[in-house]
Amino acid sequence: MPPTEPRGAEAREARLAWWMTGPAVLTILLVALFPLGWTIWESLHLHDLRMPWLGRPFVGLDNYVEVLQDRRFWDSMAHTVWFAVVSVSLELVVGCALALAMNRTFRGRTLVRLSILIPWAIPTVVAALVWRFMFEGLEGWLAHDLKAWVPIILADAWKETPFVALLLLAGLQGIDPSLYEAARIDGASSWRQFRHVTLPLLAPAIMVALIFRTMNAFRVFDLIYVLTGGGPGTATEPISLYTFNSLMQNLRFGYGSTLSVLVFLVTFGLALGYIRLLGRGLTETRA
């Protein structure tokens, strides 16, 4: 229990807090506010750069209505959700296993840790090229509307699992070993130790991993662009590729911005969900 403090100390604490959060927040505001505001503002206008004679009229939510009736939007959303669910689950499970493995002391662990982290260090475009290189020779994978997902998900898992493992490893390091000791003394098996000691204490790290991995899975672009280009047809097209097409290929800035805002809303909603589920008391100080 913290000792009771006079009111002046509280105000001082608040002031210190603002100084400490200030630089980070200011940087973010300076750089992000304009682009984000601009994107939201654009999404409320009809703005097609190919046809300046149409002007840039304010159309309110018309773009949103159009998007929600766009079959290709729903398809690409479905692809993205499917991709996110499968790849993030895979990465979480494998990442957890890797983190537990890396947490132990054994010979050659430096080499193991190094080799596990390397895929993640390679630029995504290059990693995608390498995977494409590997699957190209095999008949019928990249050109098949369902099977093409296999190299995509494998490539993503290969690339991103180390990130998850690293996050979970840092989290594992924060767990007090004496807790395991106590559990072992009480006769708990390693599985029960995992379920009742590790998992609950790892929840914050898992949550961060989930949020950021999901967020990035929703924004997957380079990987699929290089591996299948969204094909065959549009069978593997994720929402970010559709947004890229709208913005940069078709120069439909209003429409593309609308797609972006929707992606943001979905991702944010998911993040809120995760926080509610796993992150109770994230900002409360420990009693």
């Binding site: 913290p2 608040a14 807090a17 400490m20 959060t21 630089p23 980070a24 927040v25 940087t27 973010i28 750089v31 992000a32 304009f34 682009p35 984000l36 601009w38 296993a97 890797l98 537990l100 193991v112 190094l114 080799s115 596990i116 982290l117 390397i118 260090a121 390679i122 630029p123 475009v125 290059v126 390498v130 290189f133 020779g137 290969w158 699992t161 690293l166 996050l167 390091q173 924060g174 007090d176 070993p177 390693s190 790290a205 961060v208 949020i211 924004r219 672009f221 947004t243 890229f244 913005l247 593309g256 797609l259 972006s260 992606v263 943001f264 993040a271 994230l282 900002t283 100080t285 420990r286």
Partner: protein, 272 residues
């Protein structure tokens, strides 16, 4: 106990092999003569050649983008860890209003698709005359790398027992000094993880680097590799060689930091 070790060893071995295989193919590819690289490159080149690597530095001056990437990624990491840890500590430990809002806002920023943000960001940086400069990359990278840093460290700081700072403060130190001298050393594993994450993000980032730089004096490694591509042709050998070379600094960083990351808390602090 023994069962556990055997299971763990098998899992590790299998995973390491699975993970290393594509990387191995990349290395083998970078040593393969160009003509053999297509349509089923052999598992090991015969004969292995070094001219791809040589071409990187003679034909393409690859050291330039490496220098640029090091500067940008290094600076971003430095600022990100510093500013981020300050912010995270305040969120984890201090009491003030608007915490949830702040956390939410910081997170929200990185949820917009990059491609949407590129155009207005270009306009913004242009008006600040920061196109084709180092700060012109560091600032956007900071903005998009900070959310992960803050969120990770908030969780990390929260786990540390509050008694630690209180002990220091009772001894007369200010809250900030307690942070600097007590918490930071203990949080090194988390800080190291954050540093690596930020560094790798900045090192590999492509879209912003492509859009906000104009020439080889400021272009980073991923952009340089993308520029290897001809209209139709991909000089595979050089691309793979460049990828290997580009991975080296990150590998070194990981090597240097990995012990920090997995270092446990000292017994004294925990029992406290």
């Amino acid at each position: 106990m023994r069962d556990q070790s055997r299971w763990a060893t098998l899992v590790i071995a299998a995973l390491v092999l699975a993970v290393a295989f594509p990387f191995y193919r990349a290395v083998a590819g970078s040593l393969t003569p160009e003509a053999q690289l297509f349509g089923g490159a052999p598992l090991w080149p015969d004969p292995p050649v070094l001219y791809h690597y040589r071409a990187l530095f003679t034909e393409r001056q690859f050291w330039l983008p490496i220098r640029n990437s090091l500067i940008v990624a290094g600076t971003t990491t430095l600022f990100c860890v510093t500013l981020g840890s300050l912010c995270a500590y305040a969120l984890a430990r201090l009491r003030f209003r608007g915490k949830t809002l702040l956390l939410g806002a910081i997170l929200a920023v990185s949820m917009f698709p990059q491609i949407a943000v590129v155009s207005p960001l270009f306009l913004l940086l242009r008006s600040l005359r920061l196109i084709n400069t180092y700060p012109g990359l560091v600032l956007p990278y900071l903005t998009f790398a900070m959310p992960l840093t803050v969120w990770l460290l908030v969780g990390y700081f929260r786990q540390l027992p509050a008694e630690l700072e209180e002990a220091a403060m009772v001894d007369g130190a200010s809250r900030f000094r307690a942070f600097r001298e007590v918490i930071v050393p203990l949080a090194l594993p988390g800080l190291a993880a954050t540093a690596i994450l930020t560094f790798v993000y900045s090192w590999n980032e492509f879209l912003f680097a492509l859009s906000f730089t104009l020439g080889p004096e400021r272009q980073t490694v991923p952009v340089a590799i993308a520029l290897f591509r001809g209209q139709y042709q991909v000089p595979w050998g050089q691309v793979l060689a460049a990828a290997i070379v580009a991975t080296a600094p990150v590998a070194l960083l990981v090597l240097a930091f990995q012990r920090r990351i997995v270092q446990g808390l000292t017994a004294g602090a925990v029992k406290g």
